[in-house]
């Protein structure tokens, strides 16, 4: 709601300087004075909005980073089995890959969603073929234009709050229930490097054959049907990890984006304030000149 309303105003504000700069020289000085005033007011409002959003994102960020660190432990612990078993992606003749893209529903957070979409598009451009599962409206909106044929599932409703393990489980369930058997499943998420940089990264989620064919699996004693369970569970774990880390990245990116927006708005306010004062001064001077000229003219009579 808020973001929709703010956008056209932002665009107008960006387009404004060129128009307003020509203002003071034109005849209708009064009109531009009022124009500058309204523009100034609207930029102030935008600054207020972006500032508030920044604060909200900051508070959410601390919670998100905490949940990210926790979930990372989950993911890494669940991957320990595969490391010990030296599992690698199965070498099948006919590869059928699935890529799960973890984005979210909300925008206004810089380029983190489009970074992932770009990675996907690059992979397609390199000639790889795979199916897509999209989590979040943003990646859906971006990828349905170019890769609609490859989309198998799309999920919405994520990103309002910190992703829960229940979310990850439900998604994993739905992916496991897909009719096609995939030889390898990858999860694409934004890796949190530091507060300003993220990198689209893949997590491997292994298929049942890959697990049973891994060279060191004999180190574990498992019943046959337990492997399927392990696969489902590790998919949920990896998804949870990816979702939580993606969420943290998003909040951090939003904080940065809003910080920049507030800074830009502040700059613009300064510029317009000076312009406003100068124009006001010009109007007063003009009026004075008129009055004095009038007075001298009538005094001579």
């Amino acid at each position: 709601m808020l973001s929709r309303a703010a956008r056209p105003a932002l665009r107008a504000a960006v387009a404004a300087p060129s128009r307003a700069a020509a203002g003071p020289n034109t005849a209708a000085t009064y009109a531009t004075l009022r124009e500058i005033e309204t523009r100034l007011k609207s930029i102030r409002n935008i600054e207020k909005i972006t500032n508030t959003m920044k604060i909200v994102a900051s508070t959410k960020l601390t919670r998100a980073t905490r949940s990210m660190n926790d979930s990372r432990k989950y993911g890494q612990t669940s991957n320990e089995v595969f490391e010990a078993a030296e599992t690698t992606a199965a070498e099948a003749d006919e590869k059928k890959s699935l890529v799960i893209v973890c984005s979210s529903d909300k925008g206004l957070c810089g380029g983190i969603h489009s970074g992932m979409s770009r990675t996907i598009r690059r992979l397609f451009a390199e000639g790889e073929n795979f199916d897509l599962v999209l989590i979040g409206e943003k990646s859906k909106a971006q990828l349905q234009r170019t890769n609609a044929k490859n989309i198998q599932l799309s999920f919405a409703g994520i990103g309002k709050d910190i992703p829960t393990f229940a979310d990850a489980q439900a998604i994993a369930d739905q992916i496991v229930n897909l009719p096609t058997e995939y030889t390898d499943v990858k999860i694409l998420y934004n890796k949190f490097i530091n507060a300003t940089s993220y990198e689209p990264t893949f997590i491997e989620a292994f298929s049942e054959e890959a697990i049973s064919q891994s060279p060191n699996i004999s180190a574990f004693e498992v019943e046959d049907d337990a492997l399927g369970n392990l696969r489902e569970y590790s998919l949920a774990n990896s998804l949870y990890w990816a979702l939580a880390e993606g969420h943290a990245c998003e909040q951090s990116a939003r904080r940065n984006a809003m910080d920049n927006a507030s800074k830009n708005a502040g700059e613009m306010i300064g510029k317009y304030q000076i312009l406003y004062n100068r124009t006001r001064q010009a109007v007063i001077t003009g009026e004075l000149v008129e009055i004095i000229t009038g007075a001298t003219a009538s005094a001579d009579m």
Binding site: L153, F155, A166, D167, A170, Q174, V176, Y233, A236
Partner: protein
């Protein structure tokens, strides 16, 4: 040997979710409220065929339906 939950058509994740819910509900009041917040999931999903999105559906309801289907087969 297959476990009872497998025979009932549940996936392992579903089984975990159900048992987690049972544990959450048996917590004491103050802890339960905090824990239950972690269980909420309001996801919707749509399955795609040939580049067209299907009807968006509630994920949890769909999972429950899938469970019922697996159980009968």
């Amino acid at each position: 040997m297959t476990a009872a939950w497998k025979a009932a058509g549940l996936t392992y994740n579903r089984f975990l979710a159900v048992s987690a819910r049972a544990i959450r509900r048996s917590l004491k009041e103050d802890k339960r409220i905090v824990a239950e917040r972690r269980a909420t999931s309001e996801l919707r999903f749509a399955s795609w065929k040939n580049g067209k999105a299907g009807e968006p559906r509630d994920l949890n309801a769909a999972n429950a339906a899938a469970t019922a289907e697996n159980a009968s087969s």
